[in-house]
Amino acid sequence: MEKMSRVTTALGSSAISGRTMFCHLDAPANAISVCRDATQVVVAGRNIFKIYGLEEEQFVEKLNLRVGRKPSLNFSCADVMWHQMEENLLATAATNGAVVTWNLGKPSRNKQDQLFTEHKRTVNKVCFHPTEVYMLLSGSQDGYMKCFDLRKKESVSTFSGQSESVRDVQFSMKDYFTFAASFENGNVQLWDIRRPDRYERMFTAHTGPVFCCDWHPDDRGWLATGGRDKMVKVWDMTTNRAKEIYCVQTIASVARVKWRPERKWHLATCSMMVDHNIYVWDIRRPFIPFATFEEHKDVTTGIVWRHQHDPYFLLSGSKDSTLYQHMFKDASRPVDRANPEGLCFGLFGDLAFAAKESLISGDANRKPYPGGDRRYPIFFFKKPDLTEQFAHVSSALSVFESSLESKRMDWFVKTARLYLLSGKSFAELCDHNAKVAKELNRPQVSTTWTMLRIMFSDPANLSTPGPNHIGKLGTLPLMNSFSMKEMGMGTESRLDRSKGESRQDNIHLELGNSLINNICPTAENEETEGSEGQAEYMFGDAELDDDDLYSMEHDNQAAEEQEYTLPQEAFPLRHEIMDNPLAPEHLQQDKADSPQASGNEAEVMCLTPIESFSLISISQPLFSPHLPAPFFCPVVREMLSHYAEQGDVQMAVSVLIVLGDRIRKEIDDLTQEHWYMSYIDLLQRFELWNVSNEVIKLSTCSAITCLNQTSTTLHVNCSNCKRPMSNRGWICDRCHQCASVCAVCHHVVKGLFVWCQGCSHGGHLEHVKNWLKSSSHCPAGCGHLCEYT
């Protein structure tokens, strides 16, 4: 106790100061040690044995202990220790097995004092007793530990580690007679120096060699051990069985471990392989170093705290032939660079967020006052904070799920599912898609579709209007009656319909009317010219779209811009009204069609063209002379780019597909391909495989269509002769029959084939389905009772 206080006063009177500094050694260092008053450091290595003075700004070489013309192997040091009480006394462990003591008080150049050559192999470690001046302990590769009384020529006792190499020996701080020894087989032994016959206690501390151990300086009976298994373990030796109380996992084998003075939880480590850094750990937070010193360019071989009561100076020697003094304030703090938060947007707009709990709950370190916290003297206001904050951390993980549909990606999925991209006439597709968009509350998109239809309903495609129209009237008598009524009564029916279809208020309706009236004169004129055009005059739906337009106007997007891009605004308006009447029929029909539409466009295809032509036939006389579709192309191209830039590549691709050749030439292939790729990628993210496949099929970019042809091989066997079909056609070249014929329509099935597992007959999925609705017998007539489930 008396000694302790003396040391403290020494520290108090000559407060250590300095800075991070280093000096070059002539050779790699193996070990370093400081003298008691922290003013000098001894560096020992295979080819070096020097004492440096620690000055304010630099290291100053004080003494070279390696003297003589041909230095003996005794100078080749594996370890060195400066006595902590006797400032002239040093001991080294030589690689040839010698234990040498040095007396700096000697007048001669050669300071060598005693030489013990009792060990047979390298001595790994020497250790002075902390309170006993003449007691020295050594541990060697030969498996023995020896205790020397420096007043005698020979060792006073020998402790056998049972032929296991000793890597470290350390006298206990707490117990006068106890020392710990660590071994290459992973064991740690506790010995009483009075009883050389047998260890007091032994336990396995690590898998693989235990390279080092260190007693906690504060009399706690804590022993830290470090091993090749990259771990530092702290053992409580006060209990009957050594208990592991902390374990720090480092990234490389642990060569040295040293408790940090005055910091109960801190220890410093360095590695003998791979890793050149020195880490200071808080053992309560074993995963991330509290501080790191990264100066060395090669393996750090020796670390020592400069003064046993000063936690701010660390000295280190290295294989890179440098000696460093590290200031703790210059250490890098990995935790400061460690990201305390994780954030990720999910596919559906949900947001995963993990954050350090102190960040989200307390305002603890949120807004540090500029002058520091006044509760503490400015001197150390930061310290307790830092250490405590460091030790206790955890993160909270939460997922924010958007409850608003608008923020989720539902609109995307629904739109993708419901859009029709092919299988109907252009106008119908547009109408359908406009309706889909509208239902999903996306008026802008909806309007765009409507506009597109107006712009591009291609008059040049006119086919014979008469029969088509009759066909339509025939198939849709209901529609027709509506139309007739409309023709006759105009406004009233319009009113009814608009009420029925959309809950528009009167103001709007009237506005719509006035708008329509403005245009009506011309429209009516033309109507009389057109043969059957009047039947299509249904304003109700026009208003539907008007509604969109008006609401758009309140949108913060600009309506005026429109004037630049579309100076002939009269045309679109007029056409819109002309065209819209068709919409309701499609809407009705679409409802019926859409569920299967994507699955079997083929069939839809054969039903629809008739109607589409009728539409075209009507519009043609109205604007074909004035408005070539290509006129709109630049606008549409710009629009598509706009949608793509706004993140709605769905719109861009859908329009691209629906417009097809009308726009394709206008947009360069790379851009198209990019859109397709992006959209397909999105669809696949949402696991919309069918839609994605449809898009791939419908795309015109070779790079896209070939997506479906890669890494998929179909091996087909002929259904007649049961042999593999070698050629690509549908006729087996062995039996010369068509393979896989549908039992219902007797055509080759090229898509989905369904067959009965009982009688093995089958055919087109749809055909068989329909057949089995009406009959329970096999369509092939084999008499089997088939069942479709």
Binding site: S394, Q557, A558, A652, Y679
Partner: protein, 403 residues
């Protein structure tokens, strides 16, 4: 209107990264406790930990999913100077019954001499490629030549960035017009070292990555960087988390066909927000790149959104523990911003002003206010945002996002 679902992560130290998989149904977290956990979403929307294993012998900084085409594959990187590739094994095991899946290490990438700070898979169209960056300023690009063999990775490129790297981001654009591009952020805190974000582009002729751009205006430590998903844009958008949130736009300048050098970009800063009032740690884009989320030392997540004019606004603030951020919680700055943006948005709505690109006929002057009240928000906003902007909307004592 977000609902916070708190998950007991049970990591023993800080969580440094969370990452959703391609389909958004799985999530991986990594922590300083050296472990990675995988979470699967159940039918009911609950997240269950289906795997937790020790991945490294140091803090795990980042975890990332590969495209599912390559299997259920994760990559992690760590303070222990390695990056590792993990694959989920589907098979018969007792683990399955406990609802745990088994992940095995396919490879360890040990080229770095310092902490590996980020790891990212390249966009799928480039094949199975992985990039790491490390504290010593080296970006490494690895490739698995055989996608079926995840244990064979060859180091294709080493790019020296000179500055300690903290984050990387691949340009996700799948367009052939855009050569592969990586943005690298540095967390070097010395502002004297100039631009902390460097952009490297692959040159087909030299078959090397060459620096295309340095964002000289970003001089503070960069913690995260993210290219926005490019769904058919001709330009690139880059979000940067530094002492504030920044959004840059990189517009490739047309280059002469003869030139073989890297693409030149016109770099525009489109937004810069210091609302976090502190270091910003993370930025993340939503899938359509319409929303940007950022999180900072204030413990809040902020959502940013652009209007049609490319004006970025805060559309929401989320508190980490799910509690609402309201006027009383001491966030006056945030409040002001929100009020400001609300007012401004509504002005935009009223003015309907000049610069927008619109594709429908102009109409008469705005009609009576009578319809206005129940009109829908502008379509450009309604699809993704719940920002209320009506001038008649409630006094902004609570942010609408946190009901």
């Amino acid at each position: 209107m977000f609902v916070a679902r708190s998950i007991a992560a049970d990591h023993k130290d800080l969580i440094h990264d969370v990452s959703y998989d391609f389909h958004g149904r799985r999530m991986a977290t990594c922590s300083s406790d050296q472990s990675v956990k995988v979470w699967d979403k159940s039918e009911s929307g609950e997240w269950h930990c289906t795997a937790s294993w020790k991945t490294h012998s140091g803090s795990v900084w980042r975890v990332t999913w590969a495209h599912p085409e390559f299997g259920q594959v994760l990559a992690s990187c760590s303070f222990d100077r390695t990056a590792a590739v993990w694959e989920e094994i589907v098979g018969e095991s007792n683990d399955k019954q406990r609802g745990q899946s088994h992940w095995i290490k396919r490879t360890t990438l040990v080229d770095s001499r310092t902490s590996v700070t980020d790891v990212k898979f390249a966009p799928k169209h480039m094949g199975l490629m992985l990039t790491t960056c490390s504290a010593d300023g080296v970006v490494r690009v690895y490739e698995a030549p055989d996608v079926m063999n995840l244990s064979q990775w060859s180091l294709q490129h080493e790019i020296s960035c000179k500055l300690s790297c903290s984050c990387i981001s691949w340009n996700p654009s799948s367009s052939r017009a855009h050569p592969p591009m990586i943005a690298v952020g540095s967390d070097d805190s010395n502002v004297m070292y100039g631009g902390k974000v460097q952009i490297y582009e692959y040159n087909d002729n030299t078959r090397k990555y060459a620096k295309a751009e340095t964002l000289m205006t970003v001089t503070d430590a960069v913690h995260d960087i993210a290219f926005s998903p490019n769904l058919g844009r001709s330009f690139h958008v880059l979000a940067i988390a530094t002492k504030d949130v920044r959004i840059f736009k990189l517009v490739p300048l047309r280059k002469e066909s003869s030139s073989t050098g890297p693409t030149k970009f016109e770099v525009q800063i489109v937004a810069q927000f210091d609302n976090h009032n502190s270091q910003v740690w993370r930025v993340s884009w939503n899938i359509t790149s319409t929303l940007l989320a950022s999180s900072g030392d204030d413990g809040c997540v902020r959502l940013w959104k652009a209007n049609y004019m490319d004006n970025w606004k805060c559309t929401g603030i989320l508190k980490g523990d799910g509690s609402p951020v309201n006027g009383s919680s001491g966030q006056p700055g945030a409040m002001n911003t929100m009020v400001g943006s609300a007012v401004q948005t509504s002005q935009n709505a009223l003015n309907g002003s000049a610069a927008g690109r619109y594709f429908f006929p102009p109409l008469d002057a705005p009609r009576a206010g009578s319809r206005y009240g129940h009109l829908l928000p502008p379509p450009s906003l309604i699809e993704h945002s719940d920002a209320q902007f009506s001038p008649h909307s409630q006094p902004l004592n609570t942010l609408p996002e946190h009901d």
